[in-house]
Symmetry: C2
């Protein structure tokens, strides 16, 4: 059996980011068209005029989604949306998507049609072409692999490792809602399990549910920034929670940062739901994940310019190398920001 080895290190010892680092640390790009490989939201390829951006994601039943409360149509929509978000985070435009499906015979053709309806709907809304893929059976469960291809003008591409000291740290929209939506859905599922006659009580929670079930990539922000000629100095999308993404920016740029707790945008419905669950709203924003908002830095000279765009909050600034990443709390305490975001490999523990 190939799995028996003298040494056995558990995957959970490394975690998702650790494993990726470990496996890819010795990779050297050789093709001259390979501009940027592992380590950003998308691979960057130079095929002549514009740069080509490619990103791929695997969505696994029981890890990334739970079909007992996720309608297949929403799942298809979300799978495409969150991949477009990776292209947006490079300041690019998504153009094509390839869909790989692995399905067990538990699923009917009609169920897969629902999933595809959602995929096609997201493609339509975002002007993306469904341009290929692969469909195969699985022994159990549903696996979705999405590859999205986009492009960006050579001078417009934005990486995640190019922030400069004193740059302002900005986020779009509001954070933590998607995670509260998830907690709500999981609570209702647990209650339904205890008492199947119970009707789900999701009223008044439309906003956080839509944040979880139907996230939208912030293509509008990219367009707005382009119109006012502000190019972020670095950018990443918030899939794993603000804390984790802030650390990616810091690590990538070799800088520290200072984030102000009371500047982090959190919707009132998220605050209320967090209170319901006895969680601090800021924790939700920092560690929740799946908001698919953009986190980016700009030069201080652009501060006045971005104020015309609704939905951008300045939440802090980058500091000198070695200064660390800190959250400044409402009562002026400094708390170190640590990665506690979505760690798909550890999540099952």
């Amino acid at each position: 059996m190939p799995l028996e080895k003298t040494q056995r290190t558990e995957l959970t010892e490394l975690g998702e980011f650790g494993l990726i680092d470990h496996l890819t640390k010795d990779i050297v790009l050789k093709n001259k068209s390979s501009v940027k490989g592992v380590g950003d939201d998308a691979a960057v390829i130079d095929n002549g005029q514009k740069l080509t951006l490619v990103s791929t994601d695997l969505l696994v039943e029981g890890v990334h989604f739970d079909l007992s409360y996720t309608p297949l149509k929403h799942l298809g929509y979300k799978a495409v949306s969150v991949n477009i978000s990776d292209i947006v985070a490079m300041n690019g435009t998504a153009r094509q998507v390839l869909v790989g499906l692995s399905v067990s015979n538990r699923f009917s053709v009609e169920a897969i049609e629902e999933l595809y309806d959602g995929i096609k709907q997201a493609c339509k809304v975002h002007n993306v072409d469904l341009a290929g893929g692969d469909t195969t059976s699985s022994v159990s469960g549903l696996f979705i692999s999405i590859t999205v291809i986009g492009d960006v003008e050579r001078e417009d591409v934005v990486y995640r490792y190019t922030s400069r000291e004193n740059d302002l740290v900005c986020v779009t929209g509001d954070l933590g809602g998607a995670y509260m939506g998830l907690l709500l859905l999981e609570r209702e599922k647990a209650m339904f399990k205890d008492d199947p006659s119970m009707q789900p009580d999701l009223e008044g929670h439309d906003y956080i549910l839509s944040r979880q079930l139907k996230p939208e990539p912030r293509t509008d922000i990219i367009r707005n920034l382009h119109e006012i000629r502000v190019k972020p100095t670095a950018m990443i999308d918030i899939s794993d929670g603000l804390g984790s993404e802030v650390l990616h920016l810091c690590k990538g740029s070799g800088l520290g940062c200072m984030i102000y707790e009371d500047k982090i945008p959190i919707d009132l419905t998220t605050v209320n739901a967090a209170a319901d669950f006895n969680i601090s709203p800021v924790t939700t924003a920092l560690n929740g994940g799946e908001d698919y908002e953009l986190l980016f830095t700009i030069g201080q000279q652009d501060f006045e310019k971005i104020r015309v765009i609704p939905g951008i909050s300045v939440i802090g600034h980058m500091t000198a190398p070695g200064e660390g990443a800190f959250l400044v709390t409402g009562d002026d305490q400094l708390v170190e920001i640590r990665a506690q975001g979505w760690n798909a490999l550890k999540r099952k523990d």
Copy 2:
């Protein structure tokens, strides 16, 4: 539960190709960079100078591979190889690969390293950069999604739907070996299950085992054809068996074809193994799959030219629309070619 619907059509009623057709029949490409979408070996994207080719594949444990006899290193190598083959089948050159992994905690870090070693080895041999990916946990088993990106000069791209009447049908290498390798491995596995003290008897079967475990994309043939300035009129790689691929060419081009049984190249070791298993060698070539050789058509005027390239066999010719796809047997019987190739969705029945 989203899975409960009034109508339920089983996936097996449609099969893999039927399901893909069903799900993608209404897709219209809208982006001007989308040159070719669903329905060829790779999606074709126009981003300025060269055309960009992108192909994606899902490999599922228990469906596409069995780890009881597939070393993880070979699996990684093969996963990349077969995807490069899709780019080669468009007459292109593979440049980058993105790897999505979904692994259960049954696997150790060392096991995933083995897999990655194979992936990196294939990248090295074929000058392809490992440029990104996604790693995540699975509830059970191993899922690999590979996306390969390549390019081709605008005037060199070869589709699978552009054969012309009277074109010659060619294949590279020899066929059926990969399938005989698979049967051999499965027989040894079954015998080992009955008697665990048994030593596997794989001696003398190196060739068919390597065909199954370590297929190579025919980048050499593409290069050779380019050197002698022969551009195939249509091309596809043989992943599902010659029969299935011949039908793709016929359907794509709206033509019939005549394939001569005694022209189909089959290695002597494949013939011997087939005899061992009481299977006709031609059936193995037609229905076995996973040879990753190229099937292509050329104009009759190129017949003399291609004879300088070793490893190309002319096996038949394309006929008029509506004439059907036929195999001419050794005793001059006409047998209609039907798709009995690898059908991943039906394979579990």
